[in-house]
């Protein structure tokens, strides 16, 4: 390889307008995904504030009961299909090509189409607030028979729009998954065998494989639900010989693995960040990487644990209790590997590291309540109570969203060329950690005491914990202010970032910040060792010293 032309001369900065149009550059699409996702995050968050505002008093006094049903349904749907999945696809778009040294995704146009479907089905879902009868009100899982009632009688109704939006989201995610899997399998840098791939790419590959296997089942189930709702079939109608539990199988066959689709890339983020900020190689790299695929395999055979009270056979309950508990083994492997990485390391408590530590703490807590929920008798006892809500939000907000924030702060300088402010970042982290625990911890005692979820009024004996939870929720709402302030102001006038501000090891840190349009172009370096060689002094790629010197010269001249 010759180093004569890399890195390139800086070109004039491309305009802002490309972020608003059909652009096929993965780095632009990545940012489009993330910004769109946070737009919907604010809407979903606002709905959460209304929910917690309603629950701060025992009486149903803030919103109408029917409106309340619509609000929690839309909160869940927006947060999952319009925030978490798009924001993770955004990270995938930014990180996968740069981490494996590819110029772009395998199918750039398909990639852009997949992104543009997000605002389309997002608007469709938002439009359901305006149709007669209001939005879907049957919870984010839309179980029949509630979801096939259509009391308004219009063909155009909130539930119908909900199903259409979810099906379109599935199409978009499948397009994305085909793209990510093909890119990871076929476009890695020379020398980057699969066992030299960064763990983030392993976890993305695992998560996207789950999308490919699980999503079609949900789409199939949703098609049948739409036909029951709109065309008079009776797949799920008991009075026509149908079976409502069949829908639950279709739904959870995807939607349980969906939780792994969310958490696996976050495991990837933890595995990337702990070594950087502990200055030690990732403990047990290969085991951490392979555990992702054990989670995929097991994750596909645990879905019935959502249906223990749905009248499934006892042998099924026993079987799925065991498979669910087995998941604790590969996740445990990962948790101990991260602890092993931190242990004795030279810790740097930067904002991303603090988010990772907070996320890991919350994840372990969620794992313990997860094992409790896997136990059939406990599950039946707390089924449909706030215990389940608490567990789920610890996983999703406590662990996944904190991991996503960690990733955003860590890779922000790489893709914007500016440093985020540490003070605002740490304030954001503190508010998020305290807010999340204050919001979601009280849900556990509430659930054990028997407070059902999806109600707008409750017995006054539950008041204390509900007030605490609501105050925590408002704190979480406030925590977004320093985040948005930080993102906007540091992107506009933050200090310029060098190519490797965190002293991290990885192909993406051998690119200028922000990277040129086609990353390494034709000068992809040859990888000669495993990732995370912190403290070993071993170079990651051939000619690493020259590449870094050129990047430094480029920065000095800018």
């Amino acid at each position: 390889m010759t180093i004569t032309t890399f890195p390139p001369e800086p070109k004039p900065e491309p305009g802002w307008s490309r972020y608003f149009g059909f652009c096929t550059d993965a780095k632009v699409i990545g940012i489009q995904y993330i910004v769109t996702a946070f737009f919907f995050f604010l809407i979903g968050g606002l709905l959460a504030m209304v929910i917690r505002g309603e629950l701060i008093t025992p009486a149903s006094d803030l919103v109408d009961r029917a409106v309340y049903n619509g609000i929690y349904t839309m909160h869940g749907t927006i947060m999952l299909f319009l925030f978490i999945f798009p924001v993770l696809n955004g990270l995938n778009n930014l990180l996968i090509p740069t981490m494996i040294g590819a110029p772009d995704m395998a199918f750039p146009r398909l990639n852009a189409v997949a992104f543009w479907l997000v605002p389309i089905f997002g608007s469709l879902l938002m439009a359901s607030f305006l149709v007669p009868g209001g939005p879907a009100y049957s919870g984010w899982w839309s179980y029949p028979p509630v979801s096939i009632q259509n009391p308004v009688g219009h063909l155009l109704n909130g539930q119908g729009l909900w199903i259409t939006a979810v099906a379109l989201s599935g199409v978009s995610s499948i397009m994305g998954a085909i793209n990510f899997v093909t890119t990871i399998l076929r476009m890695r840098a020379p020398g980057m065998s699969i066992t030299r791939m960064p763990v983030y790419c392993w976890t993305a590959l695992a998560a996207q494989s789950l999308q490919l296997i699980g999503l079609p089942a949900l789409t199939g189930g949703a098609i049948m639900l739409l036909m029951d709702l709109s065309f008079g079939t009776s797949f799920y109608r008991p009075e026509g010989g149908g079976d409502p539990v069949l829908y639950q199988h279709f739904f959870w066959f995807y939607s349980h693995p969906a939780v792994y689709v969310i958490i696996l890339p976050v495991f990837g983020v933890f595995s990337e960040l702990f070594p950087v900020y502990s200055r030690k190689p990732l403990f047990g790299y290969l085991y951490v990487a392979l555990a992702s695929f054990i989670i995929v395999g097991l994750g596909l055979i645990v879905w019935v644990h959502h249906m223990f009270p749905s009248g499934v056979a006892q042998w099924m309950r026993n079987l799925f209790m065991v498979t669910t508990m087995l998941i604790a083994v590969p996740t445990g492997v990962k948790v101990f590997a991260w602890l092993g990485t931190i242990w004795g390391g030279k810790l740097r408590l930067t904002t991303p590291m603090l988010f990772c530590l907070g996320g890991l703490f919350n994840f372990v807590f969620a794992g313990i309540t997860g094992i409790m929920l896997a136990t059939v008798p406990v599950d039946i006892h707390v089924s449909n109570t706030y215990f389940v809500v608490g567990h789920f939000h610890y996983v999703i907000y406590g662990a996944a969203v904190m991991g996503i924030f960690a990733a955003i702060y860590h890779w922000f300088p790489k893709f914007t060329g500016r440093m985020p402010y540490e003070g605002l970042g740490k304030l954001h982290c503190l508010l998020t950690f305290v807010g999340a625990n204050m919001n979601f911890l009280p849900m556990h005692p509430l659930g054990l005491m028997g407070m059902p979820r999806r109600v707008s009024s409750y017995d006054p004996e539950f008041t204390f914990w509900n007030v605490v939870a609501s105050l925590g929720a408002f704190l979480l709402g406030v925590s977004i202010i320093p985040f948005l302030l930080n993102m906007v102001s540091s992107w506009i006038r933050g200090p310029k970032a060098t190519h490797n501000p965190w002293n991290a090891i990885g192909l993406e840190w051998l690119l200028p910040s922000p990277p040129p349009e086609d990353n390494f172009g034709e000068e992809v370096p040859t990888v000669i060792s495993r990732p995370y060689g912190y403290g070993t002094g071993e170079p990651l790629v051939e000619h690493q010293v020259e590449i870094e010197r050129r990047l430094e010269l480029l920065e000095a001249s800018a």
């Binding site: 032309t5 085909i178 199939g220 036909m227 079939t233 010989g241 086609d518």
Partner: protein, 194 residues
């Protein structure tokens, strides 16, 4: 870095080498949706108290069997077409390619005839619902296959279009085999298992 590898407007193009990989991944994923429908069908059928609606005593299987033979044979003709393409015998390739399209069209015609003669509809219990869902969803795939084949046929008249590789042809033919395999399972589930 060579500026010539990318168009100036920054629009990136897919590398044709990866198309087949992506398409195979898509087919694997698509098979799960059929798997979902098949397992739903089996579950509803085995647990039903009255599977057949009143006045219906099973499905006629002779005409669908003829249809099956035609569709499955078209997998052979499309393979032959591909074979002739690789030998650069374009006339034979186009002949067998069009024959496969015609066989697919005949299958759809046969299906339409069968549908119009049935005594039950989409809303006749889970029997009617699953029957029309499965055959209809499969029929959509047959129609898509014929459309793709038509597209590939038109492309074959563009000079030099296939000189680099035949990924489009391979993908279309794979899709056609996929549609056939799905039909065989469907035929066994709906017509043989009564």
């Amino acid at each position: 870095m060579t500026a010539t590898t990318l168009p100036q407007d920054g629009q990136h193009e897919a590398h044709p080498k990866h198309n087949l990989t992506g398409f195979i991944i898509f087919l694997c994923s698509e098979s799960v949706i059929f798997l979902a429908f098949f397992s739903g069908y089996a579950l509803l059928k085995t647990s039903a108290l009255n599977w057949l609606p009143a006045g219906v005593d099973g499905l006629e299987w002779r005409m669908p069997l003829v249809n099956t033979v035609v569709l499955v044979s078209s997998s052979g003709t499309i393979a032959l077409a591909e074979h002739f393409k690789s030998r650069e015998k374009m006339a034979l390739f186009r002949g067998f390619w069009i024959l496969s399209m015609a066989m697919g069209a005949y299958f759809l015609y046969g299906q339409a005839v069968e549908w119009s003669g049935l005594k039950f509809g989409l809303t006749s219990g889970t029997f009617g619902g699953t029957f029309f869902l499965l055959t209809g969803f499969h029929g959509l795939h047959v129609a898509t296959g014929i459309l793709l084949m038509g597209l590939m046929l038109i492309k074959s008249f563009i000079p030099g279009n296939y000189s680099g590789g035949e990924q489009g042809l391979q993908a279309t033919s794979l899709f056609w085999h996929f549609v056939d395999v799905i039909w065989i399972i469907l035929f066994l589930l709906i017509y043989v298992w009564q």
